[in-house]
Amino acid sequence: MSIIIEQRPASGLTDVADQLRDAFLRAREAIDASETVIIIAQAPDLLGQGTVEDAAVATGLLGLMRAITFEGASKGWQINMVAVDSGTEAPAEILAMAGQPGPLKGQVLNAGTGHMGKVIP
């Protein structure tokens, strides 16, 4: 089973902190329960194309994913990110791939094409 953590539009700095803390706690809880974690982020926010708050949340979640992967690589912890373009949903097959126990760890799976030709963080 996978736990899904989804980026929301940030209403301000307090909400940036709230979303990052909530993701930290939920991801840790999932890992403690030996569940895989999928973070769904907005691809435009990873690129900084929206508000500064939304960009901070998206890339903060990216950092959290990398930190957990780094620390848990030898322990089997699995967390991945699915990045979606504006107004789109994460496709079921990509979510399944991201949550499937296996070697895919700490990766960003881009479900759209908006990232192409851009510097991906």
Partner: protein
């Protein structure tokens, strides 16, 4: 008034702050040194004795009053604000399962939210052509026992990418991500631990604070006037090596 304008540096009295301050002084900036630590006043006084234009602002950037005091100090300086260096940062390391919520929150607050708050608070004060340089870390790519720190430093990159697009072409925004650098923190490491870390650096040495400060000065300079929203990783190649 100095040729390069006024530079505001947060965390100015810290391990990386002082070398950045001195390098910016060499480059011709007037300096507004911001820190929670009152020791920043002594640093400013020392610089003034050396003929450098420097003022100190003791402020807590987590509070509106702290932001207001920096904004007021910058306006009072009478020198155009051409550079903000978001350098203040802390660590509260712990393994993921041992990390307390307070440790997570503190690091997000100081490393990320305070920088966002101050940068946005200064929006109307920046001179045309000014620059924001924020200090992230190579650890933003992932590190052990630093879920809070990695999250904050990665988020700072996103903030910068968005800021660069929103404030262009008036103000540029970039990031410097230092790797292993010779600071009081690394000097406190056991010698054998530090040696093993240095072994992993393709450049075969620990970075100096000047290596980092040089990147800051470059990004702030006219030579970098076509660079915005980017990250320079100052790590001797460590971010690529096994």
């Amino acid at each position: 008034m100095t040729a390069r304008g006024l530079a505001v540096i947060t965390g100015a009295s810290g391990g990386l702050g002082v070398p950045i301050v001195r390098r910016l002084a060499d480059a011709g900036y007037a300096l507004a040194l911001v820190d929670m630590n009152p020791a920043v006043e002594e640093l400013a006084a020392t610089l003034r004795q050396e003929g450098i234009s420097a003022s100190a602002i003791v402020a807590n950037l987590s509070e509106d009053a702290g932001i207001a005091s920096v904004v007021a100090g910058v306006r009072a300086a009478g020198t155009p604000l051409t550079l903000l260096v978001n350098n203040a940062g802390i660590t509260r390391d712990a393994r993921l399962q041992k990390m307390e919520v307070a440790q997570f929150d503190q690091v997000i607050e100081v490393n990320l939210l305070a920088a966002m708050r101050l940068t946005q608070g200064l929006e109307d004060v920046f001179a045309d052509g000014a620059s924001v340089v924020s200090m992230s870390s190579r650890a933003a790519l992932g590190n052990f026992g630093q879920a809070n720190y990695v999250t904050s430093k990665s988020a700072l990159i996103g903030f910068t990418r968005a800021l660069a697009q929103r404030w262009a072409p008036r103000v540029r925004a970039n990031v410097v991500s230092p790797g292993l650098v010779d600071t009081p923190m690394t000097q406190a490491m056991p010698e054998e631990v530090l040696a093993k870390l240095v072994e992993k650096v393709p450049a075969a040495r620990i970075g100096t604070p000047l290596d980092v400060a040089n990147a800051v000065v470059f990004l702030a300079s006219d030579e970098a006037s076509y660079i915005t929203g980017q990250v320079i990783t100052v790590c001797g190649g460590r971010s690529l090596a096994p």
